[in-house]
Symmetry: C2
Subunit: 431 residues, 2 copies
C-alpha cells in the first residue's frame, strides 16, 4: 500500500456528493484499505459553503470554478457530481481528461450525449480515464457487471427497469387502481418524483442509462438519439387491469438487443409476464438483465437512486482508480466502437396490446376489427370492458405483427367516428 | 492494443475447460478486443488427448503435468479448471504463483481451504495474482460485485442461494409434494445432481462459496472450518407444507453477517418468506444478496453452474488479467485480513421452526409444550398435522429465542416417550 494519497476533488455536494464526501471522510481507513492507497478529499466545489454537511470541511480547498479545480495540480482525481449534459459539467470533465486525470462521474446525460467524444479524449490522453458506474442504475454494479463481468460474452440483449420513479408509479397504479396523474401527484408529495417529472415519466432518464449499457454491450458508439423513447404518461388504469387479466404487468422497459437489422434500442412501457424476472420488480427498485452467449441471463436488482446507493457506485469507481483498474470507457478501444445501426428500431415484430376507447353503440367492435384486418393484423384476444362514462375501453392482443402495421392500424382506428380518444399500444414481451 | 499475445495454459478440459477453450478460439477476436490484447491458448492439460472438443487442438502444446505447464516459460497465464482442494490443483496453482504468474481458477474448494496462504503467496510474488470469479455462483459476477462494485461499503451481510442442485430439489419438493429422496433420485436421473450428492445436498459446495464471499465482504482470513453447515437431507415434505401454510418457503441459505459477537457464517435450510427476494428464487438459479451501509441491498441472480456460465466467469478473469486489473485476492492486502471470530455462530437468536413427530395419543402435545417451556422457549404457533402412518407431525414456530435454547429443547423432546423421531429445527429469516 502506497502512502502517497490519491487527492480527490469533488464538484457538486448535493445528495450524492455529500454522501460520497461523508464516506470518504468518515470511513476513510476502511475504504483506503480496499483501495490499497491513502485517499484524501482535497478540494470541493459547491454552491453553498455554509451548509452543514455533517463533515468537517475546514481542511478542504474550496473552488468556485469546477474547471479550475479539475485542472488544478493538487487534484489527482476529478469527481463530477453536478449533473447536466453540457455546460460546466462537460467542460470540467474535458479539462480533467485533457490534463491526464481519471474522472469519476454519475452524470448519465453527459455520457449519453457526449460519451463517444469523451471516451476518445480519455483514450488519447495518457493518464486519463472515465468512470461512470453511478450513471447506470445507482447502487447496482451494472456497468462493472457488463463491461468486466460479461467481458467474454457475445451480448445478445440488455434490458431493465431503469427508472425507480416510473416503476413506483406503475406499481402503485396496479396496487390502488388509481390514475396515472393521481399517483404521480402522490409520488411528488412523497419525494419520489421531481416537481418537473418529464425526465422520469417521459423515459429520458432511463433512456440515458439504456444508451450507455447498449454502447458497452455491443461495442457501439453511444447513440442516445437512436433510442426510441416512449414514457408512461399514456398508461391508464384500464391498461393495468387488462394486462393483469392476462397475467401481465406493465413495466417501463429499456431493451437493447441485437437482431437481424442490427442493434435496436427501445425504452417504452411494455406488458411483461407478472411472474417474469422483470415483471416481479416492484416499487422504486431497479433491475438490469444481461444476456450473453456464454452466461445465458444474469439479473441484478437494487436501489437505482438515492445518496447512499449512488455514492456506493462513485466510491467503487474511486477505488478502481486507486487500484489502477482503468478499462476502456466502453469496454473496447474508442476507435473500435462501431457506428449505430440506423433503422434497427423499426424491425419490431411481436405481439402487441392495443386499447381503443369507443362509443358504446352496436357495431363499433366490428369497425375496429375491420380496421385491424385491413392493416394485416390478426387478433389473438379482444375484450370490451365495463365503463361508466360513455366511452367503452376495448382491449386487444394481436398475434405477432410489425410495429408499422400497428401504427397503421392505430391511424385507421383513430379516424373512425366511433373512436373517442387516440388508441394506445404497447409491446408484449415474454421476458 | 498490444500485439504481444497473452499466452494461456489451461489445465482441465472438462465441461468448463472445453467451453472456455471453445470461446477463446471461436470468439478470439471479439474477446481480444475487450481484453485490449491478443489472447492465445498455448498449452493444455487434459486426460484424454483424443476426445473431440469441437476445437482444432493441433497447434496446442500438450502437457501431462499441470505443474510443468504452470511453470513453463511459454505460459503467461495459468488457468486451473481441474478442481480438488489439494493435490495437483493446489500444487500447480502454487507453482504458477511462485513463478510470478496470474492464475485464474474456478476451484472453490481450493480457495475455501487454502485461500489465505495462496493470497499471501500471490501478494509477495511480483507478477502473481489470483482470480476466481468462477468459484462463486458460476456466471453471476458476484466476486466482482462484492470486491469491486461494493468496495466502498461497510458490508453488513452477504447471503444467497449458492447451490442450484439444492434449490432445484427444494423447489421440486414444493411443487410436487414428493419426498427428498425421490426428488434427489429424479435430479440425479436428469443430471442436476451428482451420483454422490454429498457435496451438494450436504451444503459443502455452497459453504465453500459462502466462505469465499465472507472473506471478501468482511476482510477476514478465509475460514471454511468456521462455517456452520447443515444440508437439506432432513427437510421433509411436511416441513415444506407447514412452511407454505405460513407464507414461507424453505431455501438452503448461506448467510455471513456482522453481529455483536463478530462475523457469523451459516449455511443451512431456512424458512424465508415466499415473497422475499431469495424466497422467489426457484429451480437451479443461484442468487447472491449483498448488503452494505451505502448501497443498502443489491441482489444478483443467474446460472450458478454449467459450462457456458462458468466459462463466462473464467473469461472475465482472463480479460481482467489482460487489462491489468489485478486487485488484492480478497479485496485488501493479505496481511490486513483479520482473523476469524470464534463463537460468532453461536450468537444465533431469532424465531425458529420445529417439527416433532409424535405418537398420536392424548397428552402428547402438552408434553412437547412443557419441554419447550422448560427450555425457556415461548410458542408463537403450534399445529398438529394430518398423518397416515401412526406418527403425527407437529409443527411449531417459536418467538425469538437462542439457538442454544432450541438445541436444548430438541434434546428434551427427543427424550420423550411419545417422540418417534429426532426433532427437526430450522431458522426463520425475514429476508
Amino acid at each position: 500500500m502506497t502512502d502517497t494519497p490519491l487527492r480527490i476533488g469533488i464538484a457538486g455536494l448535493g445528495t450524492v456528493g455529500a454522501a460520497t464526501l461523508g464516506y470518504l471522510t468518515g470511513e476513510n481507513a476502511r475504504i483506503a484499505a480496499r483501495a490499497g492507497r491513502a485517499l484524501r478529499v482535497d478540494a470541493v466545489v459547491a454552491r453553498d459553503r455554509t451548509k452543514d454537511r455533517g463533515v468537517d470541511m475546514a481542511s478542504l480547498r474550496w473552488f468556485d470554478d469546477p474547471i479550475a479545480m479539475a485542472s488544478d495540480e493538487g487534484v489527482d482525481l476529478y469527481v463530477e457530481l453536478m449533473g447536466g449534459a453540457d455546460g460546466v459539467a462537460k467542460a470540467s470533465v474535458e479539462a480533467a481528461l485533457a490534463a491526464g486525470k481519471p474522472v469519476v462521474t454519475a452524470n448519465k446525460a453527459l455520457l449519453a450525449h457526449h460519451g463517444a467524444a469523451l471516451a476518445e479524449l480519455a483514450e488519447r490522453t495518457p493518464g486519463a480515464s472515465l468512470h461512470y458506474e453511478a450513471a447506470v442504475a445507482g447502487g447496482i454494479p451494472a456497468v462493472k457487471a457488463l463491461r468486466e463481468g460479461l467481458a467474454g460474452n457475445g451480448v445478445t440483449r440488455v434490458s431493465g427497469i431503469l427508472n425507480g420513479t416510473c416503476n413506483y408509479i406503475l406499481t402503485e397504479m396496479a396496487g390502488t387502481g388509481a390514475a396515472f396523474g393521481d399517483v404521480l401527484a402522490e409520488a411528488q408529495r412523497l419525494g419520489y418524483a421531481e416537481a418537473d417529472p418529464t425526465a422520469d415519466v417521459g423515459g429520458f432518464d432511463a433512456a440515458h442509462k439504456l444508451a450507455i449499457m447498449a454502447a458497452i454491450a455491443f461495442g457501439r458508439r453511444i447513440d442516445f438519439d437512436g433510442v426510441r423513447i416512449e414514457g408512461i404518461e399514456s398508461v391508464a388504469a384500464e391498461d393495468i387491469v387488462a394486462a393483469r387479466d392476462m397475467g401481465y404487468v406493465i413495466r417501463l422497459l429499456g431493451v437493447a438487443e441485437r437482431g437481424a437489422a442490427g442493434v435496436s434500442q427501445r425504452l417504452r412501457p411494455c406488458l411483461t409476464p407478472a411472474e417474469s424476472p422483470l415483471g416481479k420488480i416492484a416499487g422504486v427498485t431497479n433491475a438490469v438483465m444481461l444476456e450473453g452467449d456464454a452466461v445465458g441471463a444474469t439479473i441484478l436488482t437494487g436501489p437505482g437512486a438515492g445518496g447512499g446507493p449512488t455514492a456506493s457506485a462513485v466510491l467503487a469507481d474511486i477505488v478502481d482508480v486507486a487500484r489502477g483498474n482503468t478499462p476502456p470507457t466502453f469496454g473496447v478501444a474508442a476507435a473500435a466502437l462501431t457506428p449505430a445501426d440506423d433503422g434497427a428500431n423499426d424491425a419490431d415484430r411481436g405481439a402487441f396490446y392495443l386499447r381503443v376507447m369507443l362509443e358504446d353503440r352496436p357495431g363499433t367492435l366490428a369497425e375496429v376489427a375491420a380496421a385491424l384486418g385491413r392493416s394485416g393484423i390478426s387478433i389473438h384476444r379482444m375484450r370490451q370492458h365495463d365503463h361508466a362514462d360513455g366511452a367503452a375501453p376495448v382491449t386487444i392482443v394481436t398475434h405477432a405483427c410489425d410495429l408499422a402495421e400497428i401504427e397503421a392500424a392505430k391511424e385507421r382506428i383513430a379516424a373512425l367516428d366511433v373512436c373517442t380518444a387516440s388508441p394506445v399500444s404497447m409491446r408484449i414481451v415474454e421476458s
